[in-house]
């Protein structure tokens, strides 16, 4: 509870949370919120300006930009978030098992990670798409396959370090079980580092999905996706630059909100990060020595 209240007392964190919640809600309620169908072509309104009926204007095929932005939330944000969460969960489980068990389990799991990490990311993605076919789901599956090993490495090195800490040794002398030690003593200390890496990974995955959509390997036209909207707008970048604004700003806004929120979460979880100056150990020590000498 203390951690949640600490998180909620941070205004920037609250704002980021509100922005992300609004984006997620808008994505889920897109069929009701969108003023027009996202793939409704109207060549008469080609490059139409902002208006009451089309608040963000029309694109090169006369489609409603606002509707496409709203429908684009699902593949751009929600599915990417699900893919990042899945790779974090798999990576955390493997990393914790390897770091805590050590020995042969560690060696085996880490060699598996080495194999996964030895493939260049895009080659792996292309291989998965080659086998399973184009489509967003397959791209995200490829991302999960690639990124879990990266998270596993990070978690494993943290766990190795923390498992040797004296407070963990003390818990072991009390007869605390391995699972309790992992979930109560080790995992919470790994979370801040993991949150930072996961949030930066969210941003990069979102941009990579957009890039692959641009190459025609991800979302297929006429479905809406922010990255694809950006790449479509690129054709008229110099004559109609405003078409890049809406999807570009949405990507910046979402990635920034995730990064701010992860920073705030890190501070909320780690008491040292959000430390106040109310207790000064050195001064307290000096006072204690002075008192005892006196």
């Amino acid at each position: 509870m203390k951690r949640i209240s600490r998180l909620l007392s941070d205004r920037l964190a609250l704002l980021s949370l509100a922005v992300l919640a609004a984006i997620a809600a808008a994505g889920m309620l897109a069929p009701w919120l969108a003023p027009h169908p996202p793939d409704e072509v109207n060549m008469a309104l080609r490059y139409g300006p902002w208006s009451l009926h089309y608040p963000l204007g029309n694109d090169q095929l006369g489609r409603c930009v606002l509707s496409r932005i709203l429908y684009g939330i699902r593949p751009s944000v929600l599915l990417v978030l699900a893919a990042v969460l899945a790779s974090v969960l798999i990576g955390a489980a493997v990393g914790m098992a390897a770091g805590y068990a050590g020995g042969r389990t560690d060696a085996l799991l880490m060699r598996l990670c080495d194999v996964m990490l030895s493939f260049p990311g895009y080659v792996m993605t292309l291989a998965v798409i080659g086998v399973l076919g184009v489509g967003l789901q397959n791209i995200l599956l490829a991302f999960i396959l690639m990124k879990w090993a990266w998270f596993a490495r990070i978690v494993r090195s943290s766990v190795r370090q923390i498992a040797d800490a004296d407070y963990v040794r003390f818990a072991r002398t009390l007869g605390t079980g391995s699972l309790a030690i992992l979930f109560r003593h080790i995992l919470p200390v790994c979370v801040p580092e993991l949150a930072v890496v996961a949030s930066s990974s969210f941003g990069s995955t979102l941009l990579q999905v957009s890039g692959l959509s641009f190459l025609g390997l991800g979302i297929q036209a006429p479905q809406a996706e922010w990255g694809m909207m950006l790449s479509e707008a690129r054709q008229s970048m110099f004559s109609r630059p405003e078409l890049m604004l809406a999807p570009g700003l949405m990507i910046v806004l979402t990635v920034s909100a995730v990064n701010f929120l992860s920073d705030a979460m890190q501070q909320a979880v780690d008491p040292q990060a959000g430390s106040s100056k109310r207790h000064q150990p050195e001064r307290a020590e000096a006072a204690l020595i002075g008192r005892e000498v006196a």
Binding site: A165, D166, Y167, R169, F170, A171, R172, T173, L174, G175, H185, P188, V189, V269, D270, P271, Q272, S275, R278, H279, P281, E282, A284, E285, L288, I289, E292
Partner: protein
């Protein structure tokens, strides 16, 4: 009686000659009576911390056993029998726990201790007072504590487990000299109050002589000599004499109050 019987421990090593085993402890035997303080002194790499970890059950020996009143401890929990205060005060308390949570963990929760919430809270406050800290420290986090305060909390935590013996693994080594004296005083007081036995692992003969009844000198994985603190001057083996000479030199350069040695020098 806590007894270590012919305990041996080795670690695998991968040198350029190929994999091998590095023998750290060679048939070490040691006894510690209830309420007794035994110092285990030796240089870095002599195996003293390994011995501490084996007694605490953090590692398993290759041979030999740790027994309490004749009963082998094996892989069983040491709760209530042996506890520890470690060297690194920075990592000795969970960084996300308040002092209250850290002490509560040692107490074992109300289900284990059978205390009401108020009763266990009172126990925590008493334990803090015993180590010279007031109740305001209960809500502090480890990074808000100094080294001496963290070690005091470490001692309070070990005492709260109700252990009959506490392994003090270089528990004062990383502290400044004045804070070292405070913590050593506190250890003496706690021993007087609770009758807890100590296994004081250190490389500092002066601190060991100040606190311990007996001192065992560990050298290259073997206990080469055990002696009563009052008879420290009668150490025979060359390595132990060398330690004593270094200590005398240090003591001559920086005179400190020291009961055992004063007695020995008088003699």
């Amino acid at each position: 009686m806590l007894s270590v019987e012919k305990i041996a421990k080795s670690y695998s090593s991968n040198g350029w000659r190929g994999p091998g085993r590095h023998l750290v402890l060679k048939e070490v035997s040691l006894e510690c009576r209830p309420g007794e303080c035994v110092g285990i002194i030796g240089a870095s790499g002599s195996g003293k911390s390994t011995l501490g970890r084996l007694i605490l059950g953090l590692e398993q020996p290759d041979a030999g056993s740790v027994r309490i009143d004749g009963e082998e401890l094996g892989r069983r929990s040491r709760r209530g029998a042996v506890s520890a205060v470690f060297q690194d005060y920075r990592s000795s308390i969970h960084p996300f726990f308040t002092v209250r949570q850290a002490l509560q963990e040692a107490l074992g929760g109300s289900r284990r201790s059978g205390d009401s919430k108020r009763g266990s809270s009172r126990k925590l406050e008493t334990a803090l007072e015993q180590v010279g800290l007031d109740v305001s420290y209960l809500e502090r986090y480890p990074h808000e504590l100094s080294g001496g305060q963290a070690q005091r909390i470490g001692l309070a935590r070990a005492l709260l487990t109700g252990a009959r013996w506490i392994v003090l693994d270089e528990a004062v080594s990383s502290l400044d000299a004045p804070v070292q004296v405070q913590v050593l005083e506190l250890l003496r007081e706690a021993r007087g109050t609770y009758g807890t036995g100590y296994l004081f692992i250190t490389h500092d003969l002066e601190a060991a002589a100040y606190l311990c009844d007996r001192i065992a000198v560990l050298h290259e994985g073997r206990i080469i000599e055990t002696i009563e603190t009052e008879r420290l001057g009668e150490l025979r083996t060359p390595y132990a004499r060398e330690l004593l000479d270094k200590f005398r030199l240090g003591h001559a350069l920086v005179p400190r109050q020291h009961a055992a040695i004063t007695k020995e020098e008088r003699g």
